[in-house]
């Protein structure tokens, strides 16, 4: 069976005054209908990886890859028009902060209906019905009222659930969630994650979960990629994370407080410049 997504030797480069800056350096991985976590600190290239799968890196940024295959089709060979059919309908993305990722001057209903009608043929009334169903699926009470609301009237948790609804309404096969809970109150993070997880599972979708939070990813995903300075330094099953060997992953793990093994002082992560030079780890 072909995997859902295959990324081979992905590079993202940005020109700067001092030459090309490599944001992502030769990343490769495969993804089935599973939950893959990508973990790294800010600037490690994890978001760029997510965005280049959707070919959303705009000039002057440059993306090269041997291939990015979705169900065997190489997205790198797609024209912009073909990519538009992929975006939303087959691969979708939830971004960090609904305060910025929802259009402030459009009502929630308009934005949901638009997301459905870009790809599906059907009347406005049907689009509206789908939107209401989708809002219910993300546990929005009183969806009729929320349809008329504007983003500034919503709480963060509600905004992010609407964002998830909007991204899932055309029934994509793969969802990229880029730090979907980092901007939310701790109290609603779990709820939003749970809703997202349930929908992804029920629909048999693939999920790429991008986060800086190692514990969260370990709990939530099946497999984890650890990124550092644009490279994948380690990849392992989420439940085997404590067995990770790479010193960076170990450093990250040791710098987190643990209830089962309390320490007087947390370790400070020491970085080795050699990590950034080593080639990316191949998919296992």
């Amino acid at each position: 069976m072909t995997p859902l997504l295959e990324v081979e030797d992905l590079w993202v480069r940005f020109p700067t005054r001092t030459g090309l800056f490599d944001a992502v350096r030769g990343v490769s991985f495969k993804l089935g209908r599973e939950r893959l976590g990508i973990v790294g600190e800010s600037g490690s290239g994890k978001s760029m990886t997510g965005r280049s799968i959707l070919r959303l890196i705009r000039p002057p940024g440059q993306v090269t890859a041997a291939h990015i295959r979705l169900d065997g089709e190489d997205l790198m060979q797609h024209s912009e028009a073909q990519m538009r059919k992929v975006r939303g309908q087959r691969i979708s993305m939830v971004m960090q902060d609904p305060k910025f990722s929802l259009n402030p001057v459009m009502s929630v209903g308009e934005q949901l209906i638009e997301a459905w009608r870009v790809h599906k043929k059907g009347s406005r009334a049907e689009a509206r019905r789908r939107a209401l169903d989708m809002l219910e699926a993300v546990s929005i009470r009183d969806p009729e009222r929320v349809m008329r609301a504007h983003p500034h009237e919503l709480s963060g948790g509600m905004g992010q659930r609407i964002m998830i609804a909007m991204m899932l309404i055309p029934d994509p096969e793969l969802l990229i969630a880029d730090e979907p809970t980092s901007a939310l109150d701790v109290s609603v993070q779990a709820q939003v994650l749970q809703i997202m997880d349930r929908l992804v599972q029920d629909r048999g979708m693939g999920l790429i979960f991008i986060s800086h939070d190692l514990n969260l990813v370990a709990d939530f995903c099946d497999r984890v990629l650890i990124m550092y300075a644009g490279r994948v330094v380690e990849t392992c099953a989420a439940d085997k994370l404590h067995e990770a060997k790479h010193p960076y992953t170990r450093g990250l793990l040791n710098s987190l407080p643990r209830l089962d093994a309390p320490q007087k002082r947390l370790e400070v992560l020491r970085r080795d410049p050699a990590w950034a030079q080593a080639p990316s780890v191949r998919p296992s």
């Binding site: 912009e80 992929v86 975006r87 971004m95 990722s101 929802l102 459009m106 870009v118 500034h152």
Partner: protein, 328 residues
Amino acid sequence: MTLGSIAITMLGLLFVTFLIGRVMPIDPVLAIVGERASPEVYNRVYQELGLDRPLLVQFWLYLLDVVRGDFGTSLLTARPVSEDIARVFPATLELATLGTLMGVLLGVPLGVLAAVRRGSWIDQIARVVALVGYSMPIFWLGLMGLLIFYGILGWVGGPGRLSIFYDGMIEPVTGMILIDSALAGDGTVFRDALSHIVLPASLLGYYSLAYISRMTRSFMLEQMSAEYVTTARVKGLSERAVIWGHAFRNIRVQLITVIALSYAGLLEGSVLTEIIFSWPGIGSYITNALLSADMSAVLGGTVVVGLAFVLLNVFSDLLYKVFDPRAK
């Protein structure tokens, strides 16, 4: 702007014009009684005009007159200033409206394109267009236009609103000849009026375009890097839908303010344009009154233009509330 602050601004505007009127080196009494009047007559008129009262009382009386729409009598036309203004204002309005229309219809798309294709040739053109607009004296550009399109090429009508033989053929209803002649169904006069207005209106339109395209570009640049634009792309929308359906919708509110500002600017900027094209509008009226020391007319004209300024600002604030869901 609240109602209170509008009132205070208007009051301040009137007070400043009132003060200007008082320090003008023209004796309003002499202007009425003439140079050879006896001291008794002079004193009587002096008192009738209330010039012996304290300044604030005089301002109060002036205020009462203005509220009643009484700006005094023009020395030049010997008619009430308010009547004069009612006659000349539509000419300015017609010109400024057409100019703004051109500025908006061309400037907004140009600004959007320049922002979306930043650094491309169209962005460079937009930059040059704006730079030239900011640097060129409007009266000179008007003269050059007259020289080239009227003098040399003969493509447009010359100065004035109509050719002389059509003058007075159309009954003024709105005072705007294009509309009046269209209402009367008179194609000949309409075409003549059009050939006269096209050059001055294009001139004002160019300045409006320079300003509006520049502002549109900077607003759009700000929006295009916003996260919701990425969301729109993720949805699979075409670039056109992303630009016009999402980013542009977010700058409408700011654009309205800019357009109102530019419109107000044209009402004022038409002073010089009207002189060049002998356009009988409020700009010509104020300037001619100024040159012949016709104080009431100058002040009345200034107050009316200032009033139009303030009202346009209020109007754009109101539209703000209609278009921005966050302002409710």
